[in-house]
């Protein structure tokens, strides 16, 4: 089942980017490094399926399936090459190497890598798309609209959090602390798999 105490390597900091808004392509690298000061991140392994609302205060790498929503306002989200999400995801930065269906909100940047298969709407201050990526959907690059959308998204999430959040919410950090308790993860989220993956 979940073993979210396990930690994977930090998101790779080397990114080939085409940044918007005239930003330096090194910006993503700096962001990734800053977000991963500890050099660790939570990992949802290949065999894990989650249905619900994932939220947390640490970097997260997804190699399994997540359906629902993901909220990491101060951290990076990486959908690894085996990761599949059908979710609206909000994070400080988002890197996609796997499959995404849903909307992606990146407060700083969204990077879609060459192997990614994405059908979604992207709203981000900077968007990077690598050659070879399969993408259908939209990319909003209007700074005014991006700012408005992101603040609206963050605002609505914070209100939900203040009022107790969604009943099926699955805080990533809480999962980490509960993982030591037998069966805790099963109770926390609609996890459908029983085998933890080694950290990638």
């Amino acid at each position: 089942m979940f073993d979210l105490n396990k930690k994977g390597p930090a998101a790779p900091t080397q990114q080939r980017t085409n940044t918007g808004g005239g930003q330096d392509s090194n910006a993503n690298t700096q962001t990734a490094s800053r977000d991963s000061q500890t050099g660790e991140m939570a990992v949802i392994g290949r065999s894990i399926k989650i249905e619900g609302d994932v939220r947390g205060e640490e970097d997260l790498r997804i190699e399994g399936d997540v359906t629902g929503s993901i909220h990491l306002p101060n951290n990076s989200l990486t959908i690894g090459k085996d990761g599949r999400i059908k979710a609206d995801a909000y994070a400080k930065s988002v890197v996609v190497d796997g499959e995404v269906s849903g909307d992606l909100y990146g407060a700083e940047c969204v990077t879609i890598r060459a192997n990614a298969n994405v059908e979604c709407n992207v709203v981000a201050a900077r968007v990077s798309l690598e050659e070879g990526a399969r993408f259908k959907g939209s990319i909003d690059m209007d700074p005014e609209r991006v700012k408005k959308s992101l603040s609206k998204k963050l605002g609505s999430r914070e209100r939900a959090s203040d009022s107790g959040g969604k009943p099926r919410s699955t805080p990533a950090s809480a999962l980490n602390s509960r993982a030591a308790e037998p069966g805790a993860a099963q109770r926390t989220a609609s996890a459908k798999s029983s085998k933890a993956e080694p950290a990638h």
């Binding site: 085409n18 940044t19 918007g20 808004g21 005239g22 059908e119 709407n121 900077r126 968007v127 990077s128 798309l129 690598e130 050659e131 070879g132 990526a133 399969r134 993408f135 259908k136 959907g137 939209s138 990319i139 909003d140 690059m141 209007d142 700074p143 005014e144 609209r145």
Partner: protein, 223 residues
Amino acid sequence: MRAHSVTEPLGASMARAHFDAPREFGVPLFRSLIDKLNEDRRWVILDLGAARPQTVELLSRFRCRLEIADLADTVTASGVGAGDPVRFTDLSEALHANPGNEPVDIAFCWDFLNYLIPEQMTELIKGIAARCRPDAFVHALIAYSDPLMPQWPGQFMPVDDGRLLNLSTAEPQCLAPHYSPEDLTSWMPGVTIERVRLLTNGMQEYLFRLSDVVGASGFSRGH
């Protein structure tokens, strides 16, 4: 798709084809569109082609929402092949698969029209018009001088605001249809030709204006 030009369903090889001798060419009407983007307003742009980093990079300089339809991929996925105009309606519907709530101002339809029979062209323009605001622009490239063209729709990407790069494979090739302006306007009723330029690569660059496309419904009809 055009019966004489497609001998098999457009395969994944199209998307991952080996490209040789990419050709770069000036596109003055494209440049004029990019110049328009400097106006201080928000623009919604629909690219019927595949997602390209260079397109994202170019448009990121402006207040844009870029919608990527990747119709060639849709063709591949739906198995539409030679002489299959009926199923082409699926393709125009695919334009609505992920619609935004804003009307499109500019559509990039590079090279795709060369591979369509008249009925398909009519269906496609209806689909585009339904996504667009009235008087939206459609930018297209039509085979003109060369007797031959690549067997599958070309892949283009902007080099800068006034040049495109043609990534098409040289082989195999098929006869180019050489559609005339009269052909195009008669098969795309309600579309007017704003400007046409002959390009150095032998193609004609068209800037169409959607005025009152027959059969279209959507934003252009007040939604």
